[in-house]
């Protein structure tokens, strides 16, 4: 066995890596270009698989929204100074809380862009991006 002397990767490994990176960069650029500088004044909160928002929130009204889905599944969403964030959640991983706040100012730079998602509790917040006319 001469695997010690084998190169770290083979040629097609590098092709795969470059292809994935290319698609990712092109995709991110397209996403970034579409919906830049949108008018943001509202956010929609979705629960479970509902396609109709559970609640539409005005970002100009500071408030804390409690979403209690029963059996100990509770999320708190905070609206403050035009930004919205998951204040706390009963989910195990708290990744929704780590996603931080999103607003008209920062959504273009966020990895999840205009979304905050709590997968375990199935709570989704979407900034309503409206065309500026």
């Amino acid at each position: 066995m001469n695997e010690d002397k084998a190169p770290l990767m083979k040629r097609k490994d590098v092709w795969i890596i470059l292809a994935v990176l290319l698609v990712a960069v092109v995709g991110m650029t397209v996403v970034w270009l579409s919906g830049r500088g949108a008018n943001v004044s509202r956010a929609r909160i979705f629960l479970g698989s509902g396609s109709e928002p559970y609640q539409v929130v005005n970002l100009n009204e500071d408030q804390v929204i409690e979403i209690d889905q029963g059996s100990g599944v509770v999320n708190h969403i905070e609206v403050k100074d035009g930004a919205i964030r998951m204040l706390d959640s009963t989910c195990p991983d708290k990744r929704c809380v780590y996603q931080g706040e999103m607003s008209a100012e920062n959504y273009e730079q966020r990895a999840m862009r205009h979304w905050i998602v709590c997968l375990p509790n199935q709570v989704t917040i979407e900034l309503a991006l409206e065309e500026e006319r």
């Binding site: 770290l8 083979k10 979705f46 698989s49 990744r95 996603q99």
Partner: protein, 177 residues
Amino acid sequence: MSKTSLSTRKLTRLALLAAAAVVLGYTEGLLVAFMPLPPGIKLGLANTVLLYSIYLLGPGYSVVLMLLKVVLTGFMSGNIFAAFFYSMGGGILSLTMMLLAKKLGRDSISIVGVSVVGALFHNVGQILVAALIMNTPGLMVYVFPLMIAAVVTGVITGLAGKQVIRVLRLPGAEGQG
């Protein structure tokens, strides 16, 4: 060597790898709770176990291992329903594409490339399921940052897997006593 002893050894390895996958997945889940990472981004240590099984046990056993891992991890998490479908979606897509990459790339794609393919489609599978379950196709904008994460984690776990397989192959490798 008799056929029985071979399958006994494979079965033992399958059980060991299944246990390792569950424990690694659980440990990584605990670590994630302390790391402010965006959703869907993790090293994917549990899936490296699948990577080993593709090389050490072959496709059939790998499918069984993937199903075992998904079901066992589902039981261990508090939220069986959602967790089950996310990991099932990621598991099926990721394993299929890894087997395909290994077969098509026989001599030109190494374990590192197969690992990147696995990480990529695990992420794609999970976000597809998330977009389906929550009925929010707009979530797919997140697939592109996840692709970059998959390259990073896929290369790391692939290089690690290369070393692990080199070690695991020595004693009792196929065709040896």
